[in-house]
C-alpha cells in the first residue's frame, strides 16, 4: 500500500512543478519586422556589384523615411509599409536616383505567443524608373522573417 501512496505524492509534486512551468511568461527575443532583401548585381555579367554610395528612402503619403545611407554596399534591406499594399522607394546609386514601386499582399503571421503578430508580404509586382537601374527582378516573392534574398537589382 505504501508504494501507490509514494507514487501518488511524487506525481502530485511533479504535476505542480510542470503546471507552474507551463504558466511562466517569456519575453520576446525574436526578430519581428520582416525585411525585403535586395542584392546589387552588374547588368550583363550578373556578378555582385558594390555601389560606391547607396541611399534608399521610403516615401509614405505623409513623410519620408531614410532606410539606407552607406558607402560600399552590395545589398540592402528595407521593411515594407504594413498599412498599404504598395511601398515606394527612392533609390540613389552612385549619385543617380531611381524610383521603385513594390506591390504586395499582406498576411498576418504569428511569430510566437510572446512576440505576437507581424505581417509577411508576398510581392506581386514591381515598377521602376531606369536612370541607373537596368532591371529589378523578383528572386523570392515572400518577404518574411527568414532573411532570404528577395530582389536582384541590376545596374
Amino acid at each position: 500500500m505504501k508504494r501507490p501512496r509514494s507514487i501518488f505524492t511524487l506525481t502530485a509534486v511533479a504535476s505542480l512543478v510542470l503546471s507552474m512551468a507551463s504558466c511562466s511568461v517569456q519575453p520576446c527575443y525574436e526578430e519581428t519586422d520582416p525585411s525585403m532583401n535586395v542584392f546589387l548585381l552588374t547588368s550583363g555579367t550578373g556578378e555582385t556589384a558594390e555601389a560606391d554610395s547607396l541611399r534608399v528612402i521610403g516615401i509614405s503619403p505623409t513623410d519620408t523615411i531614410e532606410f539606407v545611407d552607406s558607402r560600399k554596399s552590395a545589398s540592402f534591406s528595407v521593411t515594407l509599409d504594413p498599412s498599404a499594399d504598395q511601398s515606394v522607394f527612392f533609390i540613389t546609386l552612385n549619385g543617380i536616383s531611381d524610383t521603385a514601386v513594390i506591390r504586395y499582399t499582406r498576411e498576418p503571421h504569428l511569430i510566437s505567443p510572446e512576440c505576437g503578430y507581424t505581417f509577411i508580404s508576398i510581392i506581386t509586382g514591381l515598377m521602376t524608373t531606369h536612370n541607373i537601374i537596368d532591371t529589378l527582378m523578383i528572386e523570392n516573392n515572400s518577404v518574411n522573417l527568414n532573411g532570404e534574398k528577395n530582389l536582384h537589382l541590376f545596374y
Binding site: 521610403g58 532606410f67 521593411t79 509577411i120
Partner: protein
C-alpha cells in the same frame, strides 16, 4: 491395482494443483468512472487567461487496461502590448490507460500508469487587435474570426486512488504532441483549446480529476506464482541473492 493407484495419485496431484492456483487468484472489480478536472477552475481563480472545463469517462476492460474518453471546453483570452487574442472551442480525447500496479496490489482501487490518447480540437480563433510599429509608423490591424480543426496525441502518466468508496481522485501529467493545428503555418493559434500553445510542438501540464466510480463487473485475476532459483549461478549483478522458493503476490497478471 497399480493402474488404479496411479490414477488416484494423478487425480490428487491435479487437485493440489488447482488448489494452488485458486490461492493465487484475486477478485478485482472493474469500474465505470465519470469525473471532472479541478485544475481548470483552480487556474481560473488565480487569474489565468484560460477558462477550461474538462470531463472524463472511463471503463476498465480488465485489471490493467482502461478505455477512456474526455470532453473539454476552453476559452482563452490574452491581451498583450501588441495584440489581443481570443480562442474558444471543444476538444475530444479518446484512448487507453495501462495500469502498472499489479492486480493484487491495486485491487481495482489504485492506478499508477500511463495513457495514450488521440485528441481532436474544434476551435475558433481571432485577434481583434494587432498593433504594429516600425519605420513606416504605428498602426492597427486585426485577424478575423476563423474556425479550424486541430489534432494531437497525448501521453498521460498519472496516478489515481480511491478516496473513499465510489470516489477516486487522480493526477495526470500530460505531454501533448501536436500533429496539426489546422490553421496553416502563419496562423497557428496562440492557444489551441484542448492542446495548449499552438506554436509549440509539445505541450505539458497537469490535470487533477475527481471521479465517481461504480463497479460493473468482477473478474478473477490469476497471479502466477514465481519460482525463484536459489543456486549461486543466478546471483544478480549487484551481488545480492534472492532466497525463498516460492513467492506469491509478485507474479504477473494473466
Amino acid at each position: 491395482m497399480a493402474k488404479r493407484i496411479c490414477i488416484c495419485f494423478i487425480s490428487l496431484f491435479l487437485l493440489l494443483g488447482s488448489r494452488a492456483v485458486s490461492q493465487d487468484t484475486v477478485t478485482v472489480p472493474l469500474h465505470l468512472r465519470a469525473g471532472f478536472d479541478l485544475s481548470g477552475p483552480v487556474l481560473l481563480l488565480v487569474g489565468n487567461d484560460l477558462t477550461s472545463y474538462g470531463i472524463l469517462a472511463s471503463a476498465d476492460i480488465n485489471s490493467a487496461l482502461t478505455v477512456n474518453a474526455g470532453l473539454r471546453y476552453s476559452t482563452f483570452h490574452s491581451t498583450k502590448y501588441n495584440f489581443d487574442f481570443t480562442s474558444r472551442g471543444m476538444s475530444i480525447v479518446a484512448g487507453t490507460d495501462y495500469n502498472f500496479i499489479k492486480a493484487n496490489v491495486s485491487a481495482g482501487k489504485h492506478y499508477a500508469g500511463i495513457g495514450l490518447r488521440y485528441g481532436l480540437s474544434f476551435y475558433s480563433e481571432e485577434a481583434p487587435v494587432i498593433r504594429y510599429n516600425n519605420e513606416w509608423g504605428a498602426g492597427e490591424s486585426s485577424l478575423p474570426l476563423s474556425r479550424h480543426v486541430g489534432h494531437f496525441l497525448e501521453l498521460t502518466p498519472g496516478v489515481r486512488t480511491e478516496l473513499f468508496p465510489g470516489v477516486t481522485i487522480g493526477w495526470n501529467l500530460y505531454m501533448r504532441l501536436l500533429i496539426s493545428a489546422g490553421a496553416g503555418k502563419d496562423l497557428k493559434p496562440v492557444w489551441m483549446p484542448g492542446y495548449g500553445a499552438g506554436t509549440r510542438g509539445m505541450s505539458t501540464g497537469a490535470e487533477y480529476y475527481v471521479s465517481f466510480s461504480i463497479p460493473y463487473r468482477k473478474i478473477k485475476v490469476v497471479i502466477k506464482p514465481k519460482q525463484v532459483d536459489t543456486e549461486g549461478e543466478d546471483e544478480e549483478e549487484d551481488g545480492s541473492t534472492e532466497t525463498g522458493t516460492l513467492t506469491t503476490g509478485s507474479g504477473r497478471r494473466l
